[in-house]
Symmetry: C2
Subunit: 332 residues, 2 copies
Amino acid sequence: MPELRKDPVTGRWVIIAAEREKRPRQIGEMNDAARSEPCPFCAGNEAMTPPEVMAYRNETSPANSPGWSVRVVSNKYPALVDSDARIFAPDPIYESRYGLGVHEVIIESPDHVVNMGALGVEQISQILRAYRVRMRELTKDPRWRYILLYKNHGDRAGATLEHIHSQLIALPTVPAQAAGELNGTKRHYESTGRCIYCEMIERELRQRERVVLNSAHFVASCPFAPRFAYEIWILPKHHAAAFEQSSDQDILTLSSALQEIITRLNHALDNPPFNYIIHSIPPRETQSVHYHWHIEILPQIARAAGFEWGSGMHINSVAPEDAARLLRDVTV
Amino acid sequence: MPELRKDPVTGRWVIIAAEREKRPRQIGEMNDAARSEPCPFCAGNEAMTPPEVMAYRNETSPANSPGWSVRVVSNKYPALVDSDARIFAPDPIYESRYGLGVHEVIIESPDHVVNMGALGVEQISQILRAYRVRMRELTKDPRWRYILLYKNHGDRAGATLEHIHSQLIALPTVPAQAAGELNGTKRHYESTGRCIYCEMIERELRQRERVVLNSAHFVASCPFAPRFAYEIWILPKHHAAAFEQSSDQDILTLSSALQEIITRLNHALDNPPFNYIIHSIPPRETQSVHYHWHIEILPQIARAAGFEWGSGMHINSVAPEDAARLLRDVTV
């Protein structure tokens, strides 16, 4: 069973999940036998995954059969599991907990599509609606303090299956990265009365040098201090704290923006591996004036190395102003 | 020129160093032309690097010529540079600084050796003595608040040249990762009067299940809450805060331990890519009772992915107890 363990010096939590070692691999280092295995995410192979949690499917097709366009299942090799939580025996220095949580997979096409750039806006919009459904549903459960929706695309970005998919993990605590963001936005709100992301959007739209896309409702720009080369954030122009409260119209315009950004990345950088992460306010936060949801797209071209792991600081060899220029100017 | 930039929300600093984009590549994705380039780290090619900062060499050989066994040079593509520091123009939300620091490369063999496991204890000992010389020297400069010594071995661990080498970066501030460790050790010392690493060593030696090597002066064990599969820490058994204050005898026994651990990793995991990082107390810390220097060896087998970048938490699919058993039992 998965276990949460706390480093006694830094207080950093890790998830020890030995079950995940058994995952099949479609990409990266693997042998030909593995490569010829059927894909568990393709239509027709529904029995290869756990039963579906939800799906968008035609009305006549039964659950766990073909006829779907987007399908959500429990992760077969979960990092965390939803079960009766037990606190481990107390220990003077080594703290651990049962690995409580939810780990789901959003399968983003019934066909063996391997790149989001190949999908139309309507399909991307269905995918984002599925994210919204699952986040809304999990938000109702008072145990979950944070819901992390992320995509790993390509071997270098940590994907093990190439069939297009994203993942969702619901956590019983707000993790360090999200807590850092929340503290920062609250501090800024308390001292200025403003949402710092709203201020950054105004600044970027005035200055323009880091903006990649400026549509009616969304702006995509390379952040001022990016950890990764060609990192891009997509933000709603109007203040909104929770992705899962987006309207259908928001989702549709976001889908266009996301498709255009992925297409620009693919053309400019020859289909780079990337992660994207939806940063949304934690479900149990009572105030929403300070936080602003957004998507962070993190191309994985260089690698985090000894310096990054030892210092916590990233070295980025592409200035965001240069990255934005390339992504703006590329012909799509 | 490199630049330090602060994320306005989280306060996280990044280094923007566009010069590094010009680095040559010996490994990973590259074309045949790059592969046939001469290696800048091999004896005879000294003119391909910046002039040497120090070298262990036979007495008759002049600087920057063959005749050396370990050679330290400035990094030709530095992440930070030692120059007159200037604060950038103040900005209400976007804080930046000139990228002040030192970035050196320790070339660990005159021959084109690509794996530390191929080196004898005497050569490893010379390498560690070179680390000590450079750390002692840089510690004298009051501008440097932290010195990070690290190795990137293999493409997945972020190396771009395969010829065996390590790197050293001196920083004008204590970075987040080190600050977190220091805060944790101080907090533990204040509440218990003890060094937490000393307590962990006692516990590991009593419990044994995570110990890989137990020599007279050093213990190597998989930590209780490792971020990476097969992560191993090497710690001196007797309390010591600064690596650079190690005696010649310490260095010699550490060299044996390091060689054995690298050999065990190579045999158990088929020459895995890895980083190692020397964690030593910052030069300007006045107290040393709470901190305990050590080496963290981080094999890079899985990849940090969307979950890790979005949460700050790592998922590790190999329990340290299982990792230690494999590394103990492997035939070397």
